[in-house]
Subunit: 571 residues, 2 copies
Amino acid sequence: MAQKPGIPKGTRDFSPAEVAKRQYIISAIKHHFETFGFQPIETPTFENSSTLMGKYGEEGDRLIFKILNSGDYLKNNEVLLQDKILLDSVLDGFFVRLYNDLTFKSSVSIKTIHDKFSESEINSIDNWIEGNILDLKNKLESLEEQTFKKNSLKNLIIDNKNEIFKSALSIIKKISLNLNWESDFNRLKMMLLTNKGCIDFSSYYASQISEKALRYDLTVPFARYVVQHQNDIVFPFKRYQIQPVWRADKPQKSRYREFYQCDADVVGSKSLWQEVEFVQLYDGVFTSLGLNGVTIKINNRKILSGIAEVIGAKDKLIDFTVALDKLDKIGEDGVKKEMLEKGIGEDAIQKVQPLFNFTGSINEKLDKLNELLATSEEGLKGVEELRFICDNVAAIGLGESTLDLDVTLARGLNYYTGAIFEVSAPAGVKIGSIGGGGRYDDLTGIFGLKNMSGVGISFGLDRIYDVIEELNLFPDTVTESTKVLFINFGDKESLYAMKAVKQLRGAGIKSELYPDSAKVGKQFQHADKRGIPFAVLTGDEEINNNTFTLKNLATGEQEQVSLEELKNKIQ
Amino acid sequence: MAQKPGIPKGTRDFSPAEVAKRQYIISAIKHHFETFGFQPIETPTFENSSTLMGKYGEEGDRLIFKILNSGDYLKNNEVLLQDKILLDSVLDGFFVRLYNDLTFKSSVSIKTIHDKFSESEINSIDNWIEGNILDLKNKLESLEEQTFKKNSLKNLIIDNKNEIFKSALSIIKKISLNLNWESDFNRLKMMLLTNKGCIDFSSYYASQISEKALRYDLTVPFARYVVQHQNDIVFPFKRYQIQPVWRADKPQKSRYREFYQCDADVVGSKSLWQEVEFVQLYDGVFTSLGLNGVTIKINNRKILSGIAEVIGAKDKLIDFTVALDKLDKIGEDGVKKEMLEKGIGEDAIQKVQPLFNFTGSINEKLDKLNELLATSEEGLKGVEELRFICDNVAAIGLGESTLDLDVTLARGLNYYTGAIFEVSAPAGVKIGSIGGGGRYDDLTGIFGLKNMSGVGISFGLDRIYDVIEELNLFPDTVTESTKVLFINFGDKESLYAMKAVKQLRGAGIKSELYPDSAKVGKQFQHADKRGIPFAVLTGDEEINNNTFTLKNLATGEQEQVSLEELKNKIQ
């Protein structure tokens, strides 16, 4: 039976019209990246796991797609199987000994045994188990080197033997009353292996069978690229990168497991002119896409630090900004109530009272901040940086976008060290941010290159697509494909047609001959279904006169034309 | 300690210059695809394993990159661990019973036991083992449903119980003399599990922990796309697709684990005009890239079938074409010697003698084939098809490429059913084929859509890149990036500069301000290293006069210009 075709959840096929629309957006982004002096790089779809793991937090690590080592990993290196057997031999030995020493019989449940033993005898089981740890160690070390050489799990078990047996002990104690030897013996092993307090066998196995992983974002591969190729790069280095990334997120509306990121970053300079440029870059792209009324929100990590200083609670900063961000929705009282609930004191809230009525021009906001953060050196530095950026953006001017200062903006709080950007769609479009970015002072440190400040922004292709679609801003020409279909009347006529088709294609006109000499009606229908605006008919008369009958499929008008006229009419 | 950055073997980073050159080739291919009426689609990076597996032969399956199920697959669904434990419980039960029934003791080796038993007693062990199969079946079926529900391995074991125990029996017999119970007991299990004659646990485990795989080519995903979206597609459907694919091949020079394919296919028509078009398409792309002297080789599967018929050995067809292909290298005698060695008879070789001197024009070759294949209906059909294609290509005309008929061309023999294409680089460039393709009569059948003939070609991006590089045919303009660097003299001057930069960028000129007011020498050095041809200097004088000092960095010439003049000079 044939397979029913489908694709993995969270992924998408793109039809010709969708590809064309996506390309339209990507072209606009690319054009602006390039006029701003950014140069493209591309990195591999998969990186070594060690490059990616540990860079995105515990949650991020979990969402990274891992690739199975190639080849027949089980048959060829048998590491997994060796591990499995090693582990069995250790644990089975342990349990069999327990079984023998307590003279259990296979048909007798532990409960029965348990009833037979006094409390003090049960305690002696503990002692027995602990005494066996040494024995286990010896057993492990005497395991034939030939079979288990280079087996890292052996070392892992030896290193963690105390933990393993403490876990075993506690599990046995916990479930011994209900344990039935025959079937639960194995369940016990399973519990032991998956017990969090014990070894993380799950990660261990994953690391044994997978050494590569799909790109999770473009920033870490970029940092890796910069360090790896540092001798070939001229700094400051302005690079852009437009490639897909993959995340094993739970798929839901507008959240995909495969999606494009469009990033531009500069690395190797602390100049604030770059922040000025990025605001212009956002504006340039969105203005050229006809997306008027976009708001480019800016903040600075140092201002957030300043606020934390002023409220005297660095650890409450996230709670504070999250609550403050709800000002529009739940009002001043609601926000203050939430802050109090989160443990931010009345005094602290009082000190930042101006933030609850934080309106006006950017300059007015900056003046308020200047006053508010007067006691925080770092906060004042943030105000100064923001003023430089906003003043210069204003002096140079923006197209159809608006710059605004948003002190609740805190994305990637632990990551950014200076400017923070986020772009929201025009008012009325209910969609999250369509771009974001910021400055991070030590981009490449993790790969060994210190003191490299970076600043960058990202465009959210899928969201931008949705906004343009919703506002009906895709130009009709974007999805235009074939301009003219030559009707197929047979081989002789087709050869005549194909010679003309060749000329039209040479002039850049998308042209086709219908491949089969089907009924003319069917061919016209084909043109209609595909939205092809012109048809050309070639019969004996046309061939003899070296002309073409051009039919406008929208109006039905028909005329005899020369090849040159044909080119001009269709172009 | 910082990690040393690197990328997985067989993958590549692409620098800005490399990306630009690749894009140059891709643009040429895309432009021709589109003028020929092909429309772009994109499919996901990973497909369901079931979509890909079994489509590329056993070797292909092995080379498909598999993706680990996302999430903490061991901790969350515990399937692997359940299987492991289920398997243990079955096998351990088996071995423990063996142990008990034979009253082995843990310190006694099987050899000792073996010495104690007579031949007939050993045979009775066989009987015992076979008798236990029923017991095993009962045990499996009584396994607590709660724990092992939905466990497909349980069914796998039940279905294969006879095989498993035959294997176990034979292994035990084979190694029993040298078996030491304590340590070899486990090795025995390992042998049983990896034994080829038994269950393929390796594939089973892979299927349990991986359900997705990276795209291996663009043809199978295209077939899947066509069937899945058949109701939205207008047939004949001309699609192109330019995306990377992944193969776990052993990396070597010019063979990568990640590489781009550029495919154009038509599905839903048997018209030979499409073959005519594909020859023109190859010619159009290579001519526009300046790659003169490319040979587009064509053959037809039906001609190969005809030859097989004539030599009376269908199974020897591959041996025959492989040998014939060496004519240039080892001469007629060498080829015939190889054919004889491969078991192709003297008679058969005699019958196709004309193929050993197969020169002349395409028409001459077709005439020879017509004679040679006179007894083969299928062969003659192949000649007829080729004649149609070659005659029409000649009548329409090619640019800088040559069409040739190559009867040794047999790529993807089991796949293609009609035309077969392969393109070789211009003479003198030592590189394999730079493109290939053909017709396949049942592209989509595997996914349930019958009678869909397809024909398509592919461009080998990496090879084309290497050829263009070797022949030095990349235009200099391809890698041009920033045209002008504004020297940074401080914030006031920079603001003045940035206003001009904005204008230039608006006119599509790639322009930058050096981000820091570093020493002027350092800034010029930066422009030099990056190959930026112009610098602009802006001091008080320029600001007061509303002018710019433009410096040509190649000649050193300097002049004062207005913004308008600046635009024109740099453009």
